[in-house]
């Protein structure tokens, strides 16, 4: 089946510092990679979406300056949270799309970010 790994699973950083998280699709080439955030007691918000042959598209309230993403190939993506503050804490999920109809997102276990 489709597997998506994320690293690290959990991380703590000091307020104002930055941290990088990675996403790896195993056994398939993702046609799209999306990063989502689940803040405490909330649902999932899309941060940005990267599809084959297209530029990375950020959702409103999220910017490349704050959440730079690297998507060098169809199996790997990384995202950095720059200058993390309390409101950035939460679970960050990477979803990789297999293509087809419907194009289904398969998610990694997430990176849980705590900000002190």
């Amino acid at each position: 089946g489709a597997l998506v790994y994320q690293y690290p699973r959990r991380t703590i950083c000091k307020s104002g510092t930055s941290m990088r998280m990675e996403c790896q699709a195993v056994g398939f080439q993702a046609t799209s990679v999306a990063w989502y955030r689940q803040s405490p007691q909330k649902t999932f918000e899309l941060i940005a979406l990267s599809t084959v042959n297209s530029a990375i598209k950020y959702e409103q309230n999220f910017t490349q300056e704050k959440f730079p993403i690297s998507h060098p190939n169809l199996s790997f993506s990384s995202m950095t949270v720059l200058n993390a503050y309390l409101e950035d804490r939460g679970l960050y999920l990477c979803g990789a799309g297999l293509g087809g109809r419907p194009d289904t997102q398969y998610f990694g276990p997430g990176t849980r970010l705590l900000v002190l």
């Binding site: 999306a34 419907p102 990694g108």
Partner: protein
């Protein structure tokens, strides 16, 4: 704009009872609909998906969902729940097949009493 509403934030049932988790969506076109489950301290796992055809779709672990265009709904059902089904369930809408933006409902926290 598209949206997903899960009217029940929390549902509690006894083990062995039947279950229905409600989901209503708002979208004028043909939706792609999914149910995902989030177990404690884990990411999201796909339960089932619907695009076209038979409005009743079967998923993993005995779950099924029924699409209703007239009611704009995609309710999740299970005939007999197990304590291990306790988790948060998300109804998700995708408004086209290109790209991957998903619109999530608020989630329903299911507690199954032993």
């Amino acid at each position: 704009a598209q949206s997903v509403t899960q009217p029940d934030a929390r549902v509690t049932v006894s083990e062995g009872a039947s279950l229905q988790l409600r989901c209503k969506y708002s979208y004028s076109g043909t939706p792609y609909l999914f149910w995902y489950v989030q177990y404690p301290r884990q990411g999201l796992q796909l339960l089932l998906k619907y695009y076209s055809g038979d409005p009743v779709v079967q998923g993993v672990n005995g779950f099924e969902a029924e699409f209703s265009k007239s009611n704009s709904s995609f309710h999740l059902r299970k005939a007999s729940v197990h304590w291990s089904d306790s988790a948060v369930y998300f109804c998700v809408l995708k408004y086209n097949n290109a790209g991957a933006k998903l619109t999530f409902g608020g989630g329903t926290r299911l507690t199954v009493r032993p």
